[in-house]
């Protein structure tokens, strides 16, 4: 509909301007006068565009490759000029150091269980609230929804000082509680609630009527009918919530102080030598271990990832 409105005024001047045959183009009445040459030119253009795409891919793909290949190089090779694309001698020493220098397995587990807990908790909290805001007309619903939406306006950095104080006075510094509880109930879950509400608003009411006929109460309708139907929205919420928690950096470095409590992003930066310089091969080995699993899952569930993250990017 929108395009119809714009179509006429947009196309008209184009048609007028282009009439004097530019570049010896064929008149519109004869569609395919010299098919061979035309097709060859098309093919060259397309070839050039593909070449451009290949060049543009380099900064996106090369760092990941460089990370993995450098993590297998011995220290003597890692900074050699000119750099070697494939490791000349494959060394797994850096991987052993990753676990020797820090409780890396523990840190890995910390990040994993925190992200899983935050994801499950957020799905529950957000789908319940999203459903109720979309479907149940209780007094004050609008005011309460606006109150919740304030969470979309407040970047987590703004509230880090008061939250630190809150966590500190509760004696929860250097524990994982703030990294689990605040995202599930606070600002980060508001976006999830918003997305779930949008989804439930679009769900046909007739589906719920059937459940009501069968004698289901409101909770039964939500839990047995609406929630299972919401799996696309839940998948989107799960993906961006998991990645957000997995990538969290400011909060862990503010709240956590002992190594065995660190999360991965924080741990990655800790592989430094006695002079504070980074131990590159160890750091890159730890980074590879952090990145590869997520990247593999992404390759298998691309569509869900792209949709889920595009949703969160648009804020609904």
């Amino acid at each position: 509909m929108r395009s119809d409105v714009h179509a006429a005024p947009v196309v008209a001047p184009t048609a007028g301007d282009a009439l004097p045959g530019d570049a010896g183009g064929p008149p519109p009445s004869t569609p395919l006068p010299r098919p061979g040459r035309e097709r060859r030119r098309r093919r060259t253009t397309r070839g050039l565009l593909v070449a451009l795409l290949v060049v543009l891919s380099v900064p996106f793909v090369f760092p990941t490759w460089w990370m993995a290949s450098s993590s297998l190089k011995p220290m003597s090779e890692i900074l050699r000029i000119p750099p070697t694309v494939f490791p000349e001698t494959v060394s797994w020493a850096a991987y052993a150091d990753v676990f020797r220098l820090q409780p890396f397995a523990q840190q890995y587990w910390n990040s994993l269980y925190i992200a899983v807990a935050v994801t499950l908790g957020t799905i529950l909290v957000a789908s319940m609230a999203g459903y109720a805001f979309a479907r149940i007309r209780f007094p004050g619903a609008n005011a309460l929804f606006v109150l919740v939406l304030v969470g979309l306006l407040v970047p987590s950095e703004v509230t880090i000082v008061p939250l630190f104080r809150m966590v500190n006075s509760l004696g929860l510094i250097d524990t994982h509680w703030p990294l689990v509880i605040v995202p599930i109930f606070g600002a980060p879950s508001v976006l999830a609630t918003f997305i779930m509400r949008q989804f439930f608003l679009g769900l046909p009411r007739e589906l719920e009527e059937a459940g009501r006929m069968d004698g289901l109460g409101r909770w039964g309708i939500f839990w047995r009918i609406a929630f299972p139907l919401a799996s696309p929205a839940v998948a989107a919420v799960a993906i961006f919530t998991f990645l957000k928690s997995w990538n969290l950096y400011l909060e862990p470095i503010v709240y956590l102080s002992s190594r065995e409590n660190f999360t991965l992003p924080q741990a990655l930066t800790q592989y430094v030598d006695a002079y504070g310089g980074p131990m590159w091969n160890v750091q890159l080995a730890a980074t590879t271990l952090t990145v590869l699993p997520v990247l593999l899952v992404f390759l298998f569930a691309q569509r869900q990832f792209v949709q889920g993250l595009a949703h969160s990017g648009l804020k609904g």
Binding site: R2, S3, H6, V10, V11, T14, A15, D17, A18, L19, P28, R46, L49, L52, L53, S57, F60, P63, T64, M67, P82, V125, A129, A132, P139, L147, V148, V150, L153, V154, P155, E157, V158, T159, V161, P162, F185, A187, S189, V190, R218, N247, Y249, L250, L264, P265, T269, P278, Q283, L284, T287, T290, V291, V294, L295, F298, L309, A310, G313, L314
Partner: protein, 310 residues
């Protein structure tokens, strides 16, 4: 809602039953929103009010002082050259990021929309950094960008001597911006791709028959039609850019000098390096006001423009 029923005598009983059913329904509703509402109050609203209150105090955690100071912290902000520098750094970062990010995202989206061979693979390539852990991505780039790193190694093999990208005041900010662009441009690319695919083929076809070249068609037809998306994506990118922290912490630590100390990093330093929670709170309020203004602009734009959601 149930008032019309009340007039009919025989329906009196149904009404009462429905009344209690409605009440029960409402109770279920309140129970279902309770975790989110209480969480938003406890972890968003209360902290937001608290940070405004703290910003009116002289509060040093180490010295254990908490004294009401009126607008002192705000006065200090006005005359603090370091804050001015950090606002400048944020401005440079945000503008550089939005310009590079949006134009590259648009270029990639247009290329992927040409139905070329291997499009799906390229889309995967461009999107993949989005799912890579931010700190991991940043560490790899700091490895590549260091003085004797891969990029200068590559430049050396071409006979060019590259600068020490992250330790040079002229290049540090540019390096941070570029690293961030490659990390997240895939997201904007997807949003643009969706917008491009909603541009009807027939209009383009009509223009082609009328003899409009590819560039002309893009500029006169496609660009006007997707401009609402461009505007929205730009604002979202700016809002996101204000929250940049991990990249700065890992790549430059705010340096060299304070050339890459953006607002959030400055806030972090004041609070957790210098323990000046009062001043940090005032900076938090400033950050909130900026983000609020931008978000309101974004909501206004969304209301005014019709555009296609993904």
């Amino acid at each position: 809602m149930s008032t019309p029923l009340a007039t009919a005598e025989p329906r009196q009983r149904t009404l009462r039953r429905r009344g209690s059913a409605t009440r029960r329904d409402h109770l279920v509703g309140y129970a279902m929103i309770a975790p989110q509402v209480l969480g938003a109050v406890a972890f968003v609203l209360v902290p937001l009010i608290a940070v405004a209150w703290y910003s009116l105090h002289e509060w040093n955690v180490l010295a254990n002082t908490f004294v009401f100071a009126g607008a002192d912290n705000y006065d200090r902000m006005l005359s603090d050259p370091a804050l001015r520098d950090s606002l400048m750094a944020s401005l440079v970062f945000s503008i550089g990021l939005v310009v590079l990010n949006v134009s590259l995202a648009l270029l990639l989206a247009v290329l992927l929309n040409q139905k070329l061979p291997g499009t799906t693979t390229f889309r995967t390539f461009f999107f993949s950094p989005v799912v890579v852990s931010l700190v991991a991505w940043t560490i790899v780039w700091s490895f590549l960008l260091q003085d004797d790193g891969g990029i200068n190694g590559f430049l050396a093999s071409l006979g060019v001597e590259g600068p020490n990208w992250l330790r040079n005041e002229g290049t540090a900010m540019l390096a941070v911006i570029v690293v961030q662009v490659f990390k997240n441009v895939g997201l904007n690319m997807i949003l643009f791709l969706a917008a491009l695919q909603s541009v009807p083929e027939e209009i383009q076809e009509a223009a082609r028959i009328d003899g409009a070249g590819a560039w002309r068609r893009f500029r006169s037809i496609v660009l006007p039609l997707i401009s609402p998306t461009i505007l929205l994506v730009s604002i979202l990118t700016i809002v996101g850019s204000l929250e940049v922290f991990a990249q700065i912490a890992v790549l430059t630590g705010g340096g060299p000098g304070n050339s890459t100390t953006v607002l959030v990093y400055f806030l972090y330093q004041q609070a957790f390096r210098f323990n000046d929670f009062g001043y940090a709170s005032a900076i938090s309020v400033l950050l909130f006001v900026i983000v609020l203004a931008l978000t309101l602009i974004q909501w206004q734009t969304r209301k005014r423009w019709v555009f296609d959601e993904v």
